[in-house]
Symmetry: C2
Subunit: 133 residues, 2 copies
DNA sequence: AGCGTGACTGATAATCATTGTCAATAAGGA
DNA sequence: TCCTTATTGACAATGATTATCAGTCACGCT
């Protein structure tokens, strides 16, 4: 009968996540601190992994092995991103017919419990301009 | 004028890599040791990252953030995998028309220097059978 | 074949992200 | 308000990867 409690920290984290950028747990933590919050790093990690498990945030593993988080659109079941390698800004993209394609390939090879990852990364217009600046 | 030198260690690593499985650097190191090699862990890491940079091995980042390596087919430019989450066994798959699709999406959003990742993971027939056994 | 130089190696320390620990705190139902 | 216990936060611990650095050896040159 133990529900999850809505604490000040969780509220803060949920609020902070209300953006369009992918950031690491550490980065979200810094961000929260800079806004005056006093949340601990471990708490941020715990909250983010819990939210990711619950499907409330998207998480991707970057090329360097860090896990990046971002709040995702409510109700969306499964989707993919075009993410900026520099600032983390991401847009959701549509990959038509990939689900069925993946399922077909999987059965063809006898693999079960299939899941897939599609990530496009690049440099967004703003960061490209900053580079040249 | 400093070319890369072909040392005993590198030969051993190249030889060991001649399989179809994705394994972490640590796992390859263990494997080499169990075969009687005396290579150091750091050397395995260095060789694998160098080979990955040179495009001679495939590398993917697993869900847990580990980097996994596997020798890739000579001459293949870019490809994707259906990989077993349990044993690492992988088959190369073909994702028709994805390259051009990725490029289109990228320009549509103004992103530059696009790269993409597509990974299918599942449980291979052998591991599924072992689970049930 | 013998030399010399600098790339390579391996043991180990250092780093970085993430998770575990545990006493103190505070949600939220009674 | 009171009690139970989920949650927190400071810090230690872990696990993967990278940096250090003195010793080694590949290999072009003579």
């Amino acid at each position: 009968m133990t529900a999850t409690r809505m604490t000040r920290q969780r509220r803060e984290i949920l609020d902070a996540l209300d953006t369009r950028d992918f950031r690491s747990a550490q980065s979200w933590h810094e961000h929260l601190r800079s806004e005056g919050s006093t949340v601990g790093l471990a708490t941020v990690y715990r909250a983010l992994t819990a939210l990711a498990d619950a499907g409330e945030v998207d998480s991707v593993v970057s090329e360097s092995g860090e896990t990046l988080y971002r709040r995702c659109e409510a109700g969306e079941e499964h989707h993919h991103h075009l993410r900026c390698r520099v600032c983390g800004r991401a847009v959701e993209i549509d990959v038509p017919s990939f689900e069925s394609y993946a399922a077909a390939i999987a059965t063809e090879h006898g693999y079960a419990e299939i899941s897939h990852t599609i990530e496009l990364t690049g440099v967004c217009p703003a960061c490209a301009a900053r580079d040249r600046g």
